[in-house]
């Protein structure tokens, strides 16, 4: 019984761990609050990270999810009801574990009780599917409902009820046996009950029990134990089969809970963005040669953490394989980088993005290399830590990947940092990795001034020194406008008078990057 809401061609892997480097992504893109908001149930804490941090690359799969999600947005109650039904099915199994024990007998009774508890939920699910099928428009939901209707028909569920009764062995446990090498009756195989009605004498408990028989004495406890062991062996293959089958049915509900859970998570996120007044759109996955085009892109993690609609940015440009962003401190550079990273992950999870329009090439993986600490002391351990992280990224990088770098190697001085960064960047860019880097190393920016396919961005700073948190096209300015911040903190423009520290204007026109 396939669920297939997250993928058109396979079940989502419930044990999937987020891709390597996901911890860095969560930390660097500040995804913690987003993932917490999306989490549909306290037991499903691994769901949203597993889906969001294992990006899809196939546009067909992205469209598959977008369509199911569109259905969910059109009928949120329906998706939530499905999620809830799966949850109740799983809960119905909690009491089953009271039938403990490690024998085949206990496994069998556990499975019978488990399946008895699931039977009404299977009936409810079939009815639900029949009820909702007319409203589904996506292939994912339509096909799921059709499968449920076809495979959970009344006859099948009736047979299941009969089977569970037969497994109480009203006619005794009957098995086939052969003498084995240890001189015992071995290779026991449980036989199916007779299909025809048992004769009257069998119903009354007489006969039908072979010509040769014995009954152990009533107080023979050792005998009763030996008999129990024999019975355990006789029912073993059926107990194991039923145990696995029961787990398959539970596994189906677990799968349903997981896959619907992601969409419930998306609904929760969508509601929140709506509250904040942030518009969303369906992003368009592009090919590697496509340019990135974003209009009114908001930073998801900034919006969720600060519960406010951030300043949106636009970014349109040629096919960019390397963008260097320099400019004013606290000018929204990190937020900009995060908005790109979040949007990329949402696009490749089949989700909406917080923008009025968004198109970007899909990347096999997204990597982040953010400076972890804001203070400037040049402890040698920090540089080493950065290099260790960078080395891990290099291990994982494939052509077409997107790497977001934020003040990388700022733990050393500009000269050394530039050398380090330039060597690494050259190698990654040659490898076909797309890089978006925030840096205050102007030396590094100048190094790439004439490299084709390189775009320079700058954080906007108006004539009066106020930062708008918008990112604009530019070329590397030689100051990060630290003085602006100094002034802002000290609240006066006159407090600092040294002529050399007067901020320079960005040297190019402040307009959107356009092709």
């Amino acid at each position: 019984m396939k669920v297939r809401l997250l993928f058109s061609d396979r079940e989502a892997d419930l044990d999937a761990k987020p891709a390597d480097g996901a911890d860095d992504l969560v930390a660097d893109l500040d995804l913690g609050p987003v993932l917490e908001l999306m989490q549909p149930d306290r037991r499903l804490d691994e769901l949203c990270p597993a889906v969001l941090l294992n990006p899809l690359t196939d546009p067909v799969q992205i469209a598959w999810r977008q369509h199911v999600l569109a259905d969910a947005l059109a009928d949120p109650a329906g998706m939530r009801a499905l999620f809830d039904l799966a949850g109740r099915a799983l809960e119905s199994q909690h009491s089953i574990w009271m039938y403990g024990g490690k024998t085949a007998e206990s496994l069998l009774s556990r499975s019978i009780h488990g399946l008895r508890a699931l039977l009404p939920l299977l009936r409810e699910l079939a009815a639900f599917a029949a009820n909702r099928l007319p409203y589904a428009t996506s292939a994912g939901l339509t096909e799921l409902y059709q499968r449920l209707i076809a495979e959970l028909d009344t006859a099948y569920l009736g047979e299941l009820a009969t089977l569970l009764n037969q497994l109480g062995f009203p006619q005794g446990v009957l098995s086939r046996a052969r003498l084995d090498a240890s001189g015992l009756l071995g290779s026991l195989e449980l036989l199916a009950p007779r299909r025809e009605r048992p004769p009257w004498w069998a119903v009354l408990g007489f006969g039908g029990q072979g010509r040769f028989r014995f009954t152990i004495a009533e107080r023979d406890e050792a005998g009763a134990q030996a008999l129990a062991q024999l019975r355990n062996d006789a029912i073993y293959d059926v107990a194991a089969t039923l145990g696995r089958s029961c787990e398959h049915v539970v596994g189906f509900f677990r799968q349903l809970r997981w896959e619907t859970g992601f969409y419930v998570g998306c609904l929760q996120l969508h509601d929140r963005l709506g509250d904040l007044g942030i518009t969303t759109c369906w992003p368009v996955p592009g090919t590697p040669s496509d340019a990135m085009a974003a209009v009114d892109l908001s930073c998801l993690s900034h919006a969720i953490r600060n519960a406010e609609a951030p300043v949106p940015n636009d970014l349109t440009g040629p096919r960019v394989d390397f963008a260097l962003l320099t400019g004013a401190n606290q000018g929204g550079k990190t937020t900009f980088l995060r908005s790109i990273g979040c949007a990329q992950l949402m696009l490749q999870a089949g989700m909406f993005v917080p923008a009025t329009s968004y198109r970007a090439a899909v990347a096999p993986s997204v990597h982040t290399h953010f400076r972890r600490s804001e203070d400037d002391d040049l402890a040698s351990g920090k540089l080493e830590e950065e290099l260790v992280r960078m080395s891990r990224i290099v291990d994982r990088c494939r052509p077409g990947d997107l790497l977001l770098m934020n003040e990388s190697f700022a733990s050393t001085d500009e000269v050394e940092g530039t050398y380090l960064a330039a060597d690494i960047l050259d190698a990654l860019l040659d490898h076909g990795v797309r890089v978006l880097m925030v840096t205050h190393f102007h030396r590094l920016a100048r190094h790439y001034q004439h490299r084709p396919g390189t775009v320079f961005l700058t954080a906007e700073r108006r004539e009066d020194g106020v930062r708008t948190h918008r990112v604009l096209a530019g070329s590397p300015a030689s100051t990060s406008h630290g003085m602006d911040i100094y002034r802002q903190v000290f609240g006066t423009a006159d407090a600092v008078g040294a002529p050399g520290s007067v901020p320079r204007q960005p040297t190019t026109s402040q307009e959107r990057i356009s092709a």
């Binding site: 495979e151 446990v173 003498l179 014995f214 005998g223 009763a224 030996a226 293959d237 089969t241």
Partner: protein, 529 residues
């Protein structure tokens, strides 16, 4: 102490008995062409050398332990066994031998169970199985041996014997009879019914198994997920009165077959020939060794066939890459690798002193050499890359005893008494391992006493491996070899556990340690000054 089965319980081809014309041919022994000349090892020496651990790992039963406790005094017997050991390296021979040995063990158990007389019908079935297994094993072993052409006199002899034994009509009747009966017994299945306290048996009605039906019914739920079910292990059942009664029902269902089984079992209760039973025990000795030796080889221990020399060629001792076997047995995956050592002693170097840093592996080194000599004297491979040595038997030890450390005087008296025992047992072919001799007294006394006993050793002519911290003693014995534990070139406080021929190293190691802790004489002068 050990199990009742002793070497002497079994018939061997004793030259004295081979003249008895009426006796049927006896299977030759794998341990020696005749009755081997052996000595009996001293339990305390085995313990000091950690050979007791090796024996308990490698000797599965009383018979094998007995062999392990009797080192051989005859080089030709050693070579006879070494040839058998080498043959058992051939996979085909090894497999057949293991199979044969297992069949012999289970045959013995079946006979014991039948004699015990509980549950007669299952016991007869069990005996029948054991007979069939025995016959297959004899045929299989004979076949494997004739195909593999063993080079050893021992296994060639066994091969010839088994070929003759198989051809005897009594054996052929046994094999055919047991196989036919088993086919008859196992052929048709029965139906076994269980309800409440009642068990019944009837002929098989040919109805379908239920598990497959159930699996098919639920197949629509099969997904990638589903391996989470913890299915308990299939119950292991043992013979008891309910099982025996159930078998009894089968016997009632098929009375003719079970009557034939009863007659067959009664006739062939003593089917196991004593000489083949002894062969099984001897194989267990060699297989028990190889089982553990192969495990250690997988962990990197190298095994070689030692060249054991006597006469004019004897006297030279040359070992490369030897490791402590007990240490190898104790090591777990992830432990640091064992450090192999070399040792070369000329004929004249009867006494070899071992000195070096504490915790530097002195005792381990001496143990490894002594273990090697002991294994060689049993005719077994040794854990080294190469080994050439004289026949060293007995291997004797004198180690400090942990008992009663308070009683110093008594301790010394005890040490000297034990040394006397060792000297009484020592011969010109003995190997003595002395570990911190006279540790119960002062260094000065120990030196004096040691210098007194050296001429005693020289007079006996035995080899001595002498672990000591008395470096003055080493330099005072002319002609003795001096082996010194090495330290790392870059860190004199770290021992490498390797040993080399060189004069005693003096106090260099201690000085390095002192300097590191600021305790050299200069440091102390400055710090206290």
């Amino acid at each position: 102490m050990r199990s009742a089965t002793q070497l002497t319980d079994f018939p061997t081809r004793d030259p004295a008995r081979s003249s008895e014309l009426a006796a049927p041919p006896v299977c030759p022994s794998l341990l020696a062409p005749g009755v081997p000349a052996t000595t009996t090892a001293i339990e305390r020496s085995l313990h000091d050398l950690h050979l007791d651990e090796v024996i308990s790992a490698m000797a599965p039963g009383g018979f094998q332990q007995d062999v392990w406790h009797r080192p051989v005094t005859d080089v030709s017997v050693i070579e006879y066994r070494q040839d058998v050991v080498d043959d058992l390296r051939t996979p085909a021979i090894r497999r057949a031998a293991e199979h044969f040995e297992a069949a012999m063990s289970s045959a013995r158990n079946s006979i014991t169970a039948k004699r015990a007389g509980h549950y007669p019908v299952p016991a007869e079935l069990n005996l029948l199985e054991a007979i069939a297994r025995f016959c297959t094993a004899v045929t299989g072993f004979a076949q494997a041996l004739s195909e593999a052409h063993p080079k050893s006199a021992g296994l060639s002899g066994v091969c010839g014997h088994l070929r003759d034994y198989q051809a005897v009509s009594a054996f052929q009747d046994l094999a055919r009879g047991s196989a036919d009966l088993l086919t008859e017994l196992r052929g048709p299945a029965v139906e076994l019914g269980l309800q409440a306290g009642t068990v019944w048996v009837d002929v098989d009605s040919g109805r379908a198994g239920w598990a497959g039906e159930i699996a098919a019914f639920f197949s629509r739920f099969e997904m990638v997920d589903g391996a989470r079910t913890v299915v308990p292990a299939r119950p292991r059942r043992y013979l008891n009165h309910v099982e025996a009664q159930a078998i009894g029902l089968v016997a009632e269902l098929r009375p003719e077959t079970f009557a034939r089984v009863h007659r067959f079992a009664a006739v062939h209760e003593d089917f196991l020939p004593a000489d083949l039973e002894r062969l099984g025990e001897e194989l267990r000795f060699f297989l028990g060794f190889w089982k553990v030796a192969d495990q250690l080889a997988a962990q990197g221990v190298e095994w070689c066939r030692p060249r054991v020399l006597v006469g004019t060629a004897g006297g030279r001792l040359s070992v490369e890459g030897v490791v402590d076997l007990a240490l190898a047995l104790r090591s777990r995956p992830g432990d640091p690798a064992l450090v192999p050592n070399d040792l070369a002693l000329s004929r004249g170097e009867r006494i070899a002193f071992v000195t070096g840093p504490n915790q530097g592996g002195k005792t381990t080194f001496a143990r490894a050499i002594a273990q090697l000599a002991y294994l060689a004297s049993l005719g077994l491979p040794v854990p080294a890359r190469t080994a050439t040595l004289p026949l060293l038997n007995p291997v004797l030890t004198h180690f400090p005893q942990p008992d009663d450390p308070e009683n110093q005087h008594g301790g010394l008296a005890d040490e000297i008494a034990r040394l006397h025992e060792v000297m009484v047992a020592a011969t010109g072919s003995a190997l003595l391992v002395l570990n911190e001799l006279f540790s119960a007294t002062s260094a000065e006394d120990a030196l004096e006493l040691s210098q007194v006993v050296v001429p005693e050793f020289t007079a006996v002519g035995c080899r001595v491996l002498w672990v000591t911290f008395l470096e003055d003693l080493v330099t005072s014995v002319p002609g003795a070899a001096s082996l010194v534990g090495q330290v790392a070139a870059d860190d004199p406080t770290r021992p490498t556990f390797r040993f080399r021929h060189q004069p005693p190293a003096g106090r260099s190691h201690a000085a390095a340690l002192a300097t590191r802790h600021g305790l050299s004489s200069e440091d102390l002068a400055r710090r206290l000054g």
